[in-house]
Amino acid sequence: MNFEFTEEQLMIKQAAKDYAERELIQDVLERDAKAEFPTRHIKNLAELGFMGMMVDPKYDGSGMDTVSYVLAMEELSKIDSSTSVIISVNNSLVCYGLQKFGTEAQKEKYLKPLARGEHIGAFLLSEPEAGSDAMHQHTRAEDMGDHYLLNGTKNWITSGNSATTYIVMAQTYPDKGYRGINAFIVERNSPGITLGPHEDKMGMRSSDTHSVMFSDVKVPKENKIGEDGFGYKFAMKALEAGRIGIASQALGIASGAFERALAYSKERKAFGTEIANHQAIAFKLADMAVKIENARNLCLKAAWLKDHNKPFAFESAMAKLYASDIAMEVTTEAVQIHGGYGYVKEYHVERLMREAKLTQIYEGTSEVQKIVISRSLLRE
């Protein structure tokens, strides 16, 4: 057992913290209000190495471990989860999936610019009628001999418009059920792709979420990932890793709200003393701190297992379930501690509360995490 971080891990945590506190904070409220994509920040964070953090340096990544990733995601998400979700999808769904299952040629052509952050990746699994029920993909990828022909609609796609590289799950052999699903790399500017309007979301408003429509989109054969019918398994493997990213994001949302509530409770006076001196508030702070510490330990354990090439699906599902649930609880309490001020945008905690809600929904709802966890328990 070793709870100490390495010097490099601490430097990355500090780099993320410095960037968030110096840069992201400046326009986070404005971007939230206007639903504006953080173009400048993604470029800067790419230069610092955050877009392909865990990708092998031979594919132009930073070669960091997953523990560093958890630390970075927490720090960025304390301030701005719209930016951190773009980073999370790029790193732990798209880059991770391509590095683990892509061919050399695919890595050369698609992974490298994604890892450098010159391209942004999107992961297209959800459909209007298949979110949690990912086995039943309606999007078709018909084998036309020398290419595939893609038809269908994908929903809730993070970076739907800003991404240059899509990873799309689609059904090739409907009679084979989920074993007939394939995963493809699709270029955003392929003819036949149209986007739905920018979704007007409750939170994470600065990330661009769209539905994506495919109408007779030609995909080269060499853009299929893995063996025929590997698509569903590919998506599930990528999501296992993705959960660590979203769990750490939820953790960051919780700890960001907690830090603000703690500071506020030491300044704000009521009944002649700082409100932190009232047990009603002090006990809330204690409860919040315990939850955050538990969530952090779950995230780091899942990351540690992944870094040591051990199975981590069970732990990443627990981390995601727990961290997103406590993010909702902690941010709600942070608003409560702030009182009326907490309900005002200037104090950030209401935004963090809106952001927390999404962590219980995307990349597998809390209910789906419980399915993953319970099935894993019952299998043994």
């Binding site: 780099a15 340096p57 070669g63």
Partner: protein, 245 residues
């Protein structure tokens, strides 16, 4: 052109200050150490100049025990090429300057922050220049290299002074030398361990000062609120309690 940036290892600026040993020493337990903010800006400018092509190498150096190495490695991650640590406990400014004099003579430009955020001595730069018999320029808020020629901007009373100086020179830099300290990129962080960090023994040098004791400033007095209609009371408080006039 070879640049040496001197790096002071100081407590994080949000550290709660406590003293031990009968108030003769700073309590270092639980302290997070950082690069002195002025030195960090100096290093940032050095890296910018190197990226622009006017600088051959950047070396960073400090006087301190092994506990200061993470701070030096951070400087390597930011973009210095190599680091030197002189292995001893820094005692006072003259002692530190004497240690640095043994390595600094090989450089064209020595950059040192105008003060360190721990003891705020502001003395090492000037002493080092004197020991080396180098020129020194203080209050430097801008540095450029054009065709191998060093030009500096100094902050002076009521304005700025642009000067061109001959190397070798000790530049004592302040705010403005760089806009924000450089955040290390992950590539830099990974490369930091592979860059050379040389540890040198200390040389004999006398201490010129010793600490008698430290005192914390008195805690801020509570704020008294005076009713807006009660100007008389406000004047009385200002005169009798605050002794403002």
């Amino acid at each position: 052109m070879k640049i040496l940036v001197l790096i002071s290892n100081v407590p994080d600026t949000t550290t709660k200050i406590r003293f031990v040993d009968n108030n003769k020493a700073f309590d270092t337990s639980g302290v997070q150490w950082i690069i002195n903010p002025w030195d960090e800006l100096a290093l940032t400018r050095a890296v910018e100049l190197k990226e622009a092509g006017g600088v051959e190498t950047i070396t960073v150096a400090n006087v301190g025990e092994s506990i200061t190495e993470p701070t030096l490695r951070k400087a390597l991650a930011v973009g210095a090429d190599d680091a030197i640590r002189i292995d001893t406990t820094p005692k006072d400014a003259f002692y530190v300057a004497s240690q640095l004099a043994q390595i600094a003579k090989d450089f064209d430009v020595i950059m040192v922050g105008i003060e360190a955020s721990d003891y705020n001595g502001s003395a090492v730069g000037g002493m080092l220049a004197e020991l080396l018999n180098f020129n020194s320029v203080s209050a430097v808020s801008g540095m450029n290299i054009e065709n191998g020629q060093l030009s500096l901007t100094r902050e002076i009373d009521g304005g700025q002074q642009k000067i061109s100086v001959k190397t070798p020179v000790v530049t004592i830099v302040q705010k403005g030398i760089a806009i924000d300290p450089r955040i290390p990129a992950m590539r830099g962080i990974m490369m930091a361990r592979k860059k050379p960090l040389t540890v040198l023994p200390a040389v004999e040098a006398g201490e010129k000062t010793s600490y008698v004791n430290f005192e914390l400033p008195p805690p801020k007095a509570a704020c008294k609120m005076v009713d807006e209609d009660n100007v008389k009371e406000l004047v009385r408080l200002l005169q009798e309690e605050a002794k403002a006039f």
